[in-house]
Symmetry: C2
Amino acid sequence: MDIRLISASNSLQQHLQMVFGNCTQYPSLWDVSGALRLQESELVWVDADNQDEDLVQRLCRGDFGRARVVVLSSSPTDVAAVKWLGMGAAGYLHAFAVAETLQQVASAVASGGIWIGVNLMQQLCARFGQVAKTDSPLLAQLTEREREVVSHLRDGKSNKQIARDMDIAERTVKAHLTAIFGKFGVPDRVQLLLRLAS
Amino acid sequence: MDIRLISASNSLQQHLQMVFGNCTQYPSLWDVSGALRLQESELVWVDADNQDEDLVQRLCRGDFGRARVVVLSSSPTDVAAVKWLGMGAAGYLHAFAVAETLQQVASAVASGGIWIGVNLMQQLCARFGQVAKTDSPLLAQLTEREREVVSHLRDGKSNKQIARDMDIAERTVKAHLTAIFGKFGVPDRVQLLLRLAS
DNA sequence: TGCGTCTATGCCCTTCAGTACAATGTATTA
DNA sequence: TAATACATTGTACTGAAGGGCATAGACGCA
């Protein structure tokens, strides 16, 4: 496996060299962004600590090609992990992680997966789980017509527009909405949308 | 590595047998839920397609022990992935994934990691927090005060509440909102929230 | 110093959202 | 058959949202 590292840090290059047996270093993403030809499914390691954040972001988003990107940091945080992974990075971990971890990340990412720490994953799951557990049952207890109204609501339609689309009076739409708000425990459509979106 | 599969499907058992060299099959989670002793850090593969959803859910949540659970499905969807991962599963993938992928998942999960697709990761990150919010090109063209108003708007606050929080008149909040709506090309706060959420 | 931008605010107006207090009709079920 | 849930609609009201028109101070810049 060919290891490409974008980092100005020589010690990091040596670290990866030790772990993987080879490691081509590109000091700056700025310099190589044009020259570096990133192939599909190619794997690139980038040191977020000393690179331009905007360029790393574009790299993750695939502006320079569809390569898989693993972001490294000497002081990793959950917030940063969410940021980079949310932008499309395939992994985020400590730059000087132990060999076993680095190899695991490499093989996981190379085969199309992503790598993420257990703690962070639990946070993400907890956040989502909270939503999933509260909202799904709520939607389930709506009547058929009420769900239809919610569907239109998600499109941002006004009561009048919903009435037209469902071919009923605006007053009826309001009646459905009142029932929906009651079941969700929200005071108005804005709060309902926020609840549904989260 | 000892492979335990909970599935009624013989072809799936044969598939894992081929990939891993061994695979103990438990046809129903219902039958084994009491008898199966799940040890800490043990790895269990469960076929969600033909198992009782409620039992799989309890398995993921750790009701039957602290084992790591990988959920398999012949028709995987992001929604289902989020559901199972949110309940504590350590991985979610196609039941008949290629050998390389399955082995990858096994090694990642067995060593305490989690396996998840990239697209799904981005969805989770988006739900988790303020990822795509900070650097929207539209947000960039707002003034400082306008961005503050947007921030309050995201919390679902009313104009009156925003005015109180920013210590300005409600009329001023409306003025900022009018400017924001203009820059985003939306008619009202509901449309703006939908735009920001997407 | 005049021009533009950002910020802030007042008064007044229209429209929309939501509710209180109703009624009516159609199913389904006990 | 009576009770219940659901869907439908009306009138009238309150409050929030949004905009029109106008004013005014602060600040930066040519």
